[in-house]
């Protein structure tokens, strides 16, 4: 079958936008270009359309603020987590539910205990009790049973469960122990997070800048 060669002005004119953006179908490119080569009107129109394409593309290059994108994604992820938690049947054991629902249960309990822990800590400090007020959790404090790089974290008392959950998920963290006496948790990095280049140090650095986190340090292994 011989190729279609319409070579009509009207058809070429209609296809000029895709000649301008470089996405004209291969079957059409040759004959449209041939027509444009001999048609002053189409050449002028092609130049005009290239100007439109150039200006619209340039305008589109103005970037959206990165924090806007992250905030939007956080909302979507919280929605996904909530939906997946809601559709996962509770089994009554920590090992039975999805990771998301386990995290939510951990955190629900943890926030309560954290509040108690902070209260005890404050009371100890007020009393000048060296057993409590003088104890500082540091990088050097060993943590048994760790299978992956981990971070020790204390969340702000104002942080909601949703916020804490979102923070953990976005950093690829799962709580493996806590809360400690100071409301501190230990959270391990997921395999995916490690594979994507995250380290305990980098995650701790990010977390420590978050207003919902009062303390974040990598755990010595």
């Amino acid at each position: 079958m011989s190729p279609r060669i319409p070579d009509t002005h009207a058809e070429a004119w209609a296809l000029l936008p895709w000649l301008a953006n470089g996405r004209i179908a291969a079957d059409d490119r040759e004959w449209v270009e041939a027509h444009v080569g001999g048609c002053a009107e189409c050449r002028a129109e092609l130049a005009a359309q290239r100007m439109v394409a150039s200006n619209t593309s340039r305008e589109a290059e103005q970037p959206v603020a990165a924090n806007e994108e992250q905030k939007s994604f956080n909302k979507l992820w919280a929605r996904i987590e909530a939906a997946e938690s809601a559709t996962t049947p509770a089994t009554g054991t920590l090992g039975g539910g999805s990771r998301a629902s386990r995290t939510v249960r951990w955190l629900a309990a943890a926030v309560v205990v954290q509040a108690v822990g902070l209260g005890v800590l404050g009371f100890g400090a007020l009393r000048g009790d060296p057993a409590h007020g003088g104890e500082i959790v540091t990088v050097a404090t060993p943590e048994p049973r760790l299978n992956a790089p981990a971070v020790r974290i204390v969340f702000s008392p104002q942080a909601s469960i949703d916020t804490v959950n979102t923070l953990l998920v976005h950093q690829g963290l799962s709580i493996v122990s806590g809360p400690g006496i100071h409301g501190n948790f230990t959270a391990e990095l997921s395999t995916d997070a490690v594979a994507s280049g995250a380290s305990a140090e980098s995650v701790a650095q990010v977390m420590s800048k978050d207003p919902n986190v009062t303390f974040a340090q990598p755990v010595a292994r």
């Binding site: 470089g22 290239r50 619209t56």
Partner: protein
Amino acid sequence: MALKSIESQSPRASPAPAATNDASERELLERIARSKDQAAFRTLYGNYYQRLSRLLARMSVRREDIEEVINDTFWVVWTKAGEFRGASQLSTWIIGIAYRRALNTLRRAKLRPVSDEPFDEESVSVGSSEEDETNQQWLSLGLERLPVEQRMALELTYTLGHSCEEVAAILDCPVNTVKTRLFRARETLKQVLPALAGMSGDHS
């Protein structure tokens, strides 16, 4: 108004955005479908956030609704990732979802997607020494004059670099309809863009 030399504006030598990254984006989608990979999902979201924000703004979707439309779109991507069969480009699928969601949002909000505001020529700084900036201002005002279907055909073609067939798939209409919409958009823009009017003769 003087125009930037048209000879200096060569056609895009590189493939348009829509034509690139399809293979790598399909890999991301496969990871989402196979293992609910959050990192892959986040990357894909980032790849589309800006494109969709701009496109939806062009559709006259309200600023406060844009995030909702994007997130509704990616909710579908997350939940239906395994159902994408690859008959079209991934970008065509995703942008098509966003377009239909946006239409629903516009209907719900009872917004008129076509601007009825009088064309305010005073708002364009004709005396600017920055020709490109002036052209962009004229173009933005011109685009606001277009019905949403024509505006989308133009945006999808020039800003996102889609082929005629891909635009038809996104807008869910025949290829000839896309050509007609763009033809009309071009004619309308010539009425409001001095630069274009000076460059191209009447087509009859």
